[in-house]
Amino acid sequence: MQVPAYVEYEKATSVEHAIALLARFGPEARILAGGHSLIPMMKLRLAQPETLIDINGLSELCYLRVTGGELCIGAMTRHAQLLDAPVVGQHFAILRDAEMVIADPIVRNWGSVGGSLCQADPSEDLSAAFAALRAILVIQGQDGPRTVSAREFHTGPYETVVAPGELLTEIRIAIRPGGGSAYAKVGRRVGDWAVAAVGAAVWLAGDTIEAAGVGLTAVGARHFVAAEAEEFLTGAPATEESFAQAGQIAAEHCHPSSDQRGPADYKRHLAGELTVRALRRAVRRARGQES
């Protein structure tokens, strides 16, 4: 029987209250969002917080809205809500693609978007998707909110820039014309973590890629980003040749490690091939050839 170790529990009633509780209970307190990563880690004693601060009651952090040309996602939005919202699929199909392959429908009912990001598992899907989209994350602390790029959010496996006393509250993505995006993942079986996965976002001007984002999951890419491939794609024609070359560059520059999910060279191969597939689909979507 796996049960978490003894822990104190506090229920936050507002964002301010959660931050006050974090300050009161110190660095050994952890925010409890959906808990679908934290509770399993607590069962295995990989995480052993002294206090849990439950933010599941904070409906103020549970929203999806378009304001000022941005899609704003409350940190406590459940995976299922992100998957089901038409506004998300319409602007950022990459998020719909990614959500469809995160765990299973029941886990997605309760697991939260913000929780996944803060867990910062190297195999977590949304980190690469948000990195590809150049999302902005809002972190709130006692001194008010600050923003950080999704590309600067992770400092290593299971490590983020969210400091003790702070809380991730929102994810913002700018909606720009000419955009298309997609996420492609290979897992050992349905609902499993990625062996490798790639998220691509492109913004086209005619047949030219004006801007590109390529996010890599589970292959040891710094900040989940294939920066060299993005650089190559910027200003390149939106053709199969460009996708192939970008895939090759992404594969060359990532750092997968061999583990139970597969050998490093296989993961490197996947990084390349999935970059091609994600780019192809993203461009088709930018052109309105696919929804």
């Binding site: 029987m1 796996q2 049960v3 978490p4 170790a5 003894y6 822990v7 104190e8 529990y9 229920k11 409890l32 808990g35 679908h36 509770i39 399993p40 607590m42 069962k43 849990l52 439950d54 599941n56 009651g57 299922a80 765990a103 299973d104 429908p105 029941i106 886990v107 009912n109 309760w110 349905v190 609902g191």
Partner: protein, 162 residues
């Protein structure tokens, strides 16, 4: 800590440790052993119950997180002595062999049919994809859910006629 929740329409209040998982609260503290405790790693879905309006894996939810909420377990599916159409479907179509996965399967099926009264086989399989039947009786499980959908469609049609 003291927690209170409404389980299958009945209000319960108990003193528990914060680390207590919802599945153990239901089984060991309330004696509702219909929900099964399986893999303990949120993979198998034997422990699925509804938390407010959605099915969740109760081995990965603290009982404290359900404080102030409503829970529905397999014991709450029947109404007034009559089995839920999903339960009838599992009986009619031999939707269970050993029965260990069945409570979770039925609660997810109920949720699916509430949202999609006429699901395709693909939708049924997707909805149940986070649940494992180690007897591998998936064909009959899908058939059972399909049976319940058709039963409810007939019932609705009769209601309209009446």
């Amino acid at each position: 800590m003291r927690i209170s929740m409404r389980v299958n329409g009945t209000e319960y209040s108990r003193e528990v440790e914060a680390r207590l998982l919802l599945i153990h609260f239901l089984r060991d503290h309330l004696g509702l052993t219909g929900s099964h405790w399986g893999c303990d790693t949120s993979n198998c879905g034997a422990c699925v119950v509804w938390l407010d309006d959605t099915p969740v894996k109760s081995c990965t939810v603290l009982a404290a997180m359900a404080d102030g909420r409503q829970v529905l377990t397999v014991e709450g599916l029947e109404r007034g002595g009559e089995l839920d159409p999903v339960q009838q479907g599992f009986a009619e179509c031999h939707g269970l062999q050993c029965g260990f996965c069945t409570p979770g399967m039925m609660l997810t099926a109920r949720w699916l049919l509430d949202q999609h009264p006429d699901p395709s086989d693909a939708q049924i399989r997707e909805a149940l994809s986070g649940q494992i039947c180690r007897c591998t009786g998936y064909e009959n499980i899908v058939r059972s859910v399909r049976w319940a959908a058709e039963y409810e469609a007939r019932a609705r049609a009769q209601e309209i006629q009446a």
